[in-house]
Amino acid sequence: MENLDLLMHGFGVAITPLHLLLMVAGVLLGLVVGVLPGLGAPNGVSLLIPLTFSLDPTAAIILLSSMYWGALFGGSTTSILFNIPGEPSSVATTFDGYPMARSGQSTRALTLAFMSAGIGALIGVIVITLLAGWASRFALRFGAPEYFAVYFLAFAAFIGMGSASATKTVVSLTAGLLLASVGMDNVTGEVRLTFGFSDLLGGISFLVVVIGLFGIGELLATVQEGLHFRGVSSRIDLRDMLRTIAELPRYWATTVRSGLVGIWMGITPGGPTAASFMSYGIARQASRKGAAFGTGRPEGIVAPETADHSAGTCAMLPMLALGVPSSATAAVMMGGLMIWGLTPGPMLFATKPDFVWGLIASMYVSNIVGVILVLLTVPMFAALLRVPFSIIGPMIVAICFVGGYTVSSATFDLWVVLVFGLVGYLLTRLDYPLAPLVLAMVLGHKAENAFFQSMVLSDGSLSVFFETALCSAIMAIGLALLVVPKLLQLVARLRHRGAVGQESH
């Protein structure tokens, strides 16, 4: 019950007029970011970080995390009303959400989505509340080799469990690690990989890279398709809404299953996008009316939304307790923590309980605030998409460049945004995953430091990673995650080929 006391203390920290105001502002900004193509949660949070320097860290993290929840809600809004996923994680919501809205039930579709999203988020926060204390105590036993093993595990999980080609994930990861090592090395103090360019001395900021990759890159992908929205009515009918809320308990099995999928994918580096697809697939298999999926089944909305949000919230647990974020947005937020002078990891729980438990408590409040706000303001935000792209597009571009500039007031960063915008477009079109690149840029220094310290401990022998039981266990899981999924695919493919070969004989 120690956690419960701490949580109550957290509510005391979180519920102040300023914090409530920041939650509302964050959710509303997040909705804008989630609705607009080209602005998503990762770069929305990046754009906001320079503006939080004048806030205290608790207020700042409440603003940023509320924005994340808002962006998740906003992404589902456009999926349902326009068949355009505002966020990658809401792609699966379009499958049944848009058909239901087109058949004249847009209120039902939106209410189902927002309510199950809210429930998913609450499931996630409850898991965090229960596990946070345990996870941080567990992590206190970690030394440098264990930390390196955990980073290795995170990287390996991306490579093995990601849906993209393994070598493309490796390219994305290692490119991120290399970019992170540009500039002053914080162990030896040497200047690295600047090739004489003084602009590179301070390193390449991951915030600027994220703004380019996710902002400009996604916008270019939108431009290439030549946007034309075919929206459906976005009016919310109060009676329909209440009727839909009353029908929710019928989908309890889907909700529980999807919540569990979300928790698993949120704590391991699967991320919300993978969680929503997986949960949609499971709901489809479990349903007796499986064939009707894709025509506006309520379970087809409940499943991806619940999983998306419970994964999104659960991603905060490894970020806070271990300092290993499991989604791109969590990685950006962790970068923000480090800029504010906080070190994510188990010590954070011991040294800054106000911050940690304030954040966890705020997640309960801001998700409830989010559900209410989004139901009230949906028509307004849906109207944003009716603004012609020739106006909103350049405005998004200008905001991205302004955001890139404010990170460190350097004109060089404008070029970084531009170059990474083009790179982001190319990489997305070619199915390179971008999240590992961001993760590697944020974790690069920490991973290298952990490696360096382990090497100093062991006089340069790699066996240090297999000396303690804990460390070898983590390394073994990492190696297994790296190899096993791809091996299984290979076996399945060989077996399939064998079966086809026998048939043709």
Binding site: G226, L418, F451
Partner: protein, 169 residues
């Protein structure tokens, strides 16, 4: 003009490989071995660069194999979908070109003038708004930037030669 997927894959793989080479070369200048106090500062980037080069080569090889398979299917009358057809390429080039012009203008004249001109130009030329409406959009946006950043959050943005004349620093 159309761009084939193979060309895009190959250019990207060569690009990421080049980044790896740059990392390895830079690390070799620093020293990538062991000193008495542990690994030298080039050690980590060196091996990361090597892995990046190997993965890029693998991607390049995969692209070649896929390309040859696509050519074979093309011989059988099946046309591969292009990575970018002429129409999309044109749209991208126009949007990207204006964006680059915006960045250059911003570097010379500051963000306020750059953003106002960029938004007004896009609204006028691609949006088909009348010139004075377009200018109002641009100036309105810059004014909003000024209020949000300089006044509300006290974050100074990049200024050019015009702002001091208006008494804004």
């Amino acid at each position: 003009m159309t761009v084939r997927r193979f060309h895009a894959e190959a250019v990207t793989a060569i690009g990421t490989g080049a980044l790896g080479v740059a990392g390895v070369v830079g690390a070799m200048q620093l020293g990538h071995g062991w000193s008495e106090s542990g690994p030298e500062s080039g050690y980590f980037p060196f091996y990361v660069g090597v892995i990046l080069i190997l993965a890029s080569l693998w991607n390049l090889g995969t692209a070649f194999v896929a390309h040859r398979a696509a050519l074979v299917r093309e011989g059988q009358g099946e046309i591969e979908e292009p990575f970018l057809d002429g129409e999309r390429l044109g749209r991208l080039a126009r949007f990207g070109g204006t964006m680059i012009a915006f960045v250059i203008l911003t570097l010379v004249m500051g963000i306020y003038v750059g953003a106002a001109a960029y938004i007004a130009w896009s609204a006028w030329r691609t949006g088909g708004y009348r010139l004075w409406v377009a200018l109002a959009f641009g100036l309105g946006f810059s004014l909003a930037l000024y209020v949000i950043f300089e006044i509300a959050f006290l974050v100074p943005l990049l200024k050019g030669p015009i702002e001091p004349l208006l008494g804004i620093y």
